[in-house]
Symmetry: C2
Subunit: 797 residues, 2 copies
């Protein structure tokens, strides 16, 4: 990198600048056209009310800035033959990104009826924010994008995720100064401590200060220059500033800054890759300060618009009805001199396209932004190598996530060269007992290391930062560019990304309907340190509601698994890691848990998603059960089996069926989820009219919400977590929430017709056990020996 | 403020330092004791296995740092007679805050059986993380705290919220370097652009760099000094550094830094309050760098512990079983020289308490941390002054949130001097049409202003930052210190704070059980720009699931209201703003909406929470209805009334009952929510066996989850949002989700026994209307005139 940055003159000719300006004007023209015009796209005639859309929708304010970035990125992509994509943080500026995609031809390639001519321009305008057309934001429908800019905050983390393990990729990322106020974005700046200059690509943040949000100035735009500079240097960046109002001055400054930034990036990568530099580099950041709604109407009805919050959406309204406003719009659009930009057939003139890349180098056509094109199947080892041996159910204990960790270690080994698998988590990979992976790879870390540190590595593929938002953002960016991954998280705190997973599910739902978008690897959650085993951290760490949250979303996208032991976890994880275009939520414990099923049994059980555990019940196949004991989740499964064991001992004549549910969506009707059971299947499992005592991992009403249409529903009684949490023993947690074995037995007695009277002594025995429990834990601080030492099948007792 | 900070010698005598150190050692001793000891609290005997707890739980790593801060805050509170509280970000270091509360006597005042003597010390130790005892984290049970440190990220926003409108309060805030990596915390630094040095108190952030999280170094602790300094200056702070390992050196440096910080704060406040300074001040921040698990075992089993991540929780384990470990623990505890700290009765010696404040100045007893003590009723004006006149239903249109804005303006006026009401929102107050409040107060803003800005004010009480996290954190801190507020938010994006509201609900649930915690004003959400009226922003802005999320939580805390028009919104908002210890979720539109009820009718309807709208149905009271059309939410109400109108016209012989639900929790059984209806009430409203077509604002299965136990449930058919969203017209949104009037009529025809055959032509007419709709919007981009112009009662057809 050079000390004295070259001046613009040495880099760009006046004609090159003019060509860039022409592209920018063309994109601005097309952006305005999308917001306003139904017809007369080329302004061949004077503008009339009937050319105007009846509903004016869209965000103009950010569009000229996005267009400027797009224009100049095109130039450097051409000049340097860069492999580059851009994450458009202000993605609500949809018109801008659509305009440039239309200009570079990628739009017409994706949607042939929106051709690069007057006909297509009219369609481009008309379809925007129009029923049956395209959304107003950058969205899955937008070629070249992997980011929806509606909910702000995730652009920079997405950009880093896209750059990981793509050493030759440049990911530019436009960050709006509104978005920069959000928590996730503010945290994402520190991602540069995790970016490996050897194996990862580069992220070039472009902080766009246009000064205003919807109605307020932005914080960063109102900092003194020295404070903003300190902030960006504090984030570990080298800031480069571009500021102005006069277009050619800004073009020059932007060209200089981009060249400077790319030279610095090239220098950093060369130093690391060829020179073996190990010190954390200071990556460049560009600060672009231009007016909001730049080149739009400076005033409307006597009020300033350009450069103010009034330019945020539609800067001049009521254009159909108000002739003055119509005139403002026409002057505005003609100020771009469309006749210089498009020929009479509406095709962009050569000058406009002079610095626009071709083929897959176009930002609208780079395959990294349609990552499924690049996805390779993840190499997954034979599960039997990792399975725990199970000769009979409940004879041994394993920590399920630790067993999974051994498998993940192998996946890390098998992807050591390909580098297309990552694990992210908020400082919890080891706490969640996946630490075997550290035998195969390290934790990504570019900052200072000390001798007391463990497993840190400049080239590691486990990513840990204490921000669920950043973890999620990194992983989304990684997946959407076609690679594979897993997010391991404490169950309670995954709610932190509720809103992010909403947006990702929405993305996948729409992407699945677009044939040109190729399926990408699924977003896989491993939720552990779960509600029943956070007895030491207490109430704040106890929340099983993420499952409820995702099950509200598009059923074609979401799947929820509750494997009851180690081998079923292996089977479910294998299935999830092979899948595409889903969000898979796996809830599994890290504490020692009984092994119930052999690997073969686990495979069959997980493939069915729900099934009878004949060995645990008393059915002999000759008659219907008197009662069904069902469980979903590892702790509920244990309590149900303990309850079944008590019933077998004390009430051997009762026919008890034990059902285990791994895949929660099996409970839904077939019409509502692709995994849903038919009524016949459901009835065969749960009966139509026998009492069903269902012990569920989370909030009990979820099971009712899934099963309310079933015949047996009036007889369904669900136990689960009901917010009775604190710091206490594991068994006390289930007692407090009425999920314990004694309560389940009482439920059976209470709800099975004809049992209540003759089993009063047994009921009393169960009550006594709970009373004994309460006394014992207050005295000893530990669980009753009969509970702590319990195993299946319980013979004494 | 002085240019040359005084050295420690000028401020503190050696004996004062020794006393501070004694307090610190005492707090450290008590912290360790809580984690480990069942008995032998004073170490009067050699430590034996039976003195050790059977389960060792708690977080030692952060505790010595928290104790240091507590010790030194006590000194400055005494010296300066400060009114101060502290927000303990690393609140998982529960033992530390409990220790200091026990030392200052506030603990025994709150819990008399945990007295400040050997008996009480034993109880203090034993109860910690013990069944039936207290949680391991700082929690509602902890005197002097308004913050739970389990889910990290919210300390600084809470601190700012507490400081707002408390001009004489100092809010210290310890921020762990783990927490500092989270998004919410990273965004919260910019809160200083919103803190009014005249009317607000001061926040003193203390960034505690102990270097490690659970298993990893922290990002901020591994930045070069210059980068960290730049970052903090970039956040707008003046950093003061305290660093060391040798206790007395750190005591000296901490004392100097605290005095320096408080002098600077006093100077800033004086300049603003007396000198009229208007430039944004650079508030001090203290950076405290001490080892994790400082003064704990430096090595265990040959591995370094002090100063590493191994000190995070229990630094030496298996103490009962391992005699070497028992010896390590005993040496560690005796290193604090407990005999110097406590007399033979276990009472803290005078030296320990030399710099501990008394009475309400104690951090454990300051009333601001038990804000209900300070709460005054909010002055709420007569609703009739703001009500819209309604002579007959559906004759006029108003924007409900705009009407509410007029009322809120008056509340702002009436609290202009008291300053105990704030509105927070992510840049959306005006967008949500509450802008009338700006006639009474401004938007808080301390940064640069330009002439194009509107409504900014150094002293404003509307708080807008584009971070839902920071808005929520500010408001929580404000409420927990006893003041009132409202969070106005786009409905979809309130999911961003799902996890924060979880934690707040947990706090309230526990606080309600503690008689000494006085009720605080409720957390009130106004969710607007809702799913049915984000047709312009599209799919990313469409999500009604927050209601589902909160309804999973403790029923005694959460309440959900869906007022169908302007006057019902007034009534509901009035009710919410008067309430205590709840989380109230109000979902209401900002678009023009028909006025259905007069103010008097609205009051009655909202008080009942759900009721029959006789005027909308065809019942004459003489017989049961043939069908019930129910609605919850403004858009569903409109569609239900339109459907009722169609039925009245085309099928006048059908007895249709129209039910409107304002309070969603009314649908729950009485046993499950205090607002729940008895079965008799429910059956009287919805019948036991008539078809109920329920048009609900959000995800339809929520209604099933609330009503599955009711007799009529098999006949209940719910329509709602099912993720069919995009940028389109308002009516197309309801059509896409099958919530439109035509579909509702078809549902009535399909589900009312005996109707299907004879009403086939009507059904076809409805189908035709939907077909006409589809064709019309594709052609015109607007809604069918018959829909756009519809009003109640529809006479034509």
């Amino acid at each position: 990198m050079s000390d004295a940055p070259p001046t613009s003159e040495t880099r760009l000719s006046d004609s090159a600048l003019a060509a860039l300006d022409a592209h920018w004007r063309a994109a601005n023209y097309l952006s305005v056209g999308q917001i306003y015009l139904l017809d007369n796209a080329l302004l061949a005639q004077p503008l009339r009310p009937e050319h105007i859309k009846p509903r004016l929708l869209g965000h103009w304010g950010t569009s000229p800035g996005l267009n400027l970035v797009h224009t100049h990125l095109g130039r450097v992509v051409c000049d340097r033959d860069l492999d580059a994509i851009c994450v458009w943080g202000p993605g609500h500026g949809g018109p801008a990104v659509l305009a440039s995609s239309w200009l570079d031809g990628s739009y017409a390639e994706t949607y042939p009826d929106v051709s690069r001519d007057a006909h297509g321009m009219t369609r481009l305008f008309r379809q925007f924010s129009f029923p049956g057309g395209v959304p107003s934001h950058v969205a899955p429908e937008t070629p070249g994008s992997l980011h929806e800019g509606g909910e702000l905050g995730y652009s920079l983390a997405h950009a880093y995720g896209a750059a990981l393990d793509n050493p030759h990729l440049l990911v530019a990322c436009v960050i709006g100064d509104g978005e920069a106020e959000t928590g996730p974005l503010a945290a994402s700046w520190h991602s540069n401590k995790f970016l490996d200059p050897v194996h990862d690509g580069a992220v070039l943040p472009i902080l766009h200060l246009n000064g205003y949000k919807i109605a307020n100035p932005t914080v960063l735009s109102r900092l003194p220059a020295s404070e903003l500079d300190a902030l960006l240097r504090g984030y570990g960046h080298e800031p480069l500033y571009v500021e102005g109002v006069e277009p050619f001055a800004v073009h020059r400054a932007m060209a200089v800054a981009l060249d400077d930034a790319l030279d610095r990036i090239a220098g950093i990568q060369r130093a690391a890759r060829e020179g073996g530099a190990v010190e954390r580099p200071r990556w460049p950041v560009i600060v672009l300060r231009t007016p909001k709604g730049w080149t739009g109407p400076s005033e409307v009805d006597g009020l300033p618009v350009e450069g103010t919050w009034r330019a945020h959406q539609v800067p001049v309204a009521d254009v159909r009805e108000n002739p003055d406003h119509l005139r403002v719009l026409e002057q505005w659009m003609r100020s771009y001199r469309p006749e210089e930009l498009f020929d009479s057939q509406g095709r962009p003139r050569d000058q406009v396209l002079a610095h626009v890349p071709t083929g897959p180098r176009r930002l609208g056509a780079n395959p990294h932004a349609n990552g499924g094109l690049l996805t390779r199947d993840l190499p997954l080892p034979e599960l039997d190598r990792y399975a725990v041996p199970v000769e009979r159910p409940g004879a041994t204990l394993h920590e399920p996530t630790r067993v999974l960790g051994d498998l993940l270690e192998q996946v890390m080994r098998d992807t050591a060269t390909r580098r297309d698998f990552r694990i992210v988590g908020p400082d919890e990979t080891a706490s969640n007992r996946l630490q075997a992976v550290f035998d195969a790879t390290g934790k990504a870390w570019q900052a200072q290391t000390l001798t007391t540190d463990e497993h840190l590595s400049g080239h590691g593929r486990v990513m840990e930062i204490l921000s669920e938002h950043v973890c999620q953002g990194w992983l989304e960016g990684y997946l959407l560019t076609g690679r594979h991954g897993l997010f391991s998280c404490y169950e309670a705190f995954v709610h932190i990304v509720d809103s992010m997973v909403n947006q990702h599910i929405k993305w996948l739902k729409v992407a699945r309907t677009l044939p040109w978008r190729r399926p990408v690897p699924s977003l896989n959650y491993l939720l552990t340190s779960h509600v029943w085993r956070q007895d030491h951290n207490g109430f704040s760490h106890q929340d099983p509601g993420f499952v409820d949250h995702v099950l509200n979303k598009s059923p074609e996208v979401v799947r929820v698994y509750l494997p009851p032991d180690a081998n079923t976890l292996l089977s479910v994880a294998d299935h999830a890691l092979r899948s595409r275009d889903y969000v898979n939520v796996i809830v599994a414990g890290k504490q020692p848990c009984f092994d119930w099923l052999s690997m073969d049994q686990a495979r069959v059980h997980c493939a069915r998603g729900a099934g009878v555990w004949e060995w645990a019940g008393t059915e002999d196949g000759s008659r219907e059960p008197d009662v069904v004991l069902a469980a979903a989740g590892d702790v509920p499964t244990q309590e149900v089996l303990a309850a079944a064991s008590l019933l077998r001992r004390y009430l051997p004549e009762l026919a008890v069926r034990v059902v285990n549910v791994v895949d929660m969506t099996r409970l839904l009707p077939r019409e509502e989820h692709p995994h849903g059971m038919t009524d016949a299947e459901f009835d065969a499992l749960f009966t139509r009219d026998k009492p069903v005592i269902f012990a569920y991992h989370g909030y009990p009403w979820l099971v009712h919400r899934l099963a309310y249409r079933r015949a047996v529903h009036p007889y369904l009684h669900v136990r689960g977590y009901k917010e009775m949490g604190t710091t206490t023993t594991p068994f006390d947690m289930v007692v407090r929430n009425d999920l314990d074995r004694f309560r389940l037995v009482m439920d059976v007695l209470d709800r099975t017709p004809g049992l209540a009277v003759r089993t009063a002594p047994l009921r009393q025995r169960m009550e006594d056990a709970r009373t004994r429990h309460h006394a014992w834990i207050r005295e000893h601080g530990t669980d009753l020996p009969e509970v702590a030492d319990w195993s299946w099948p319980r013979q004494d007792g």
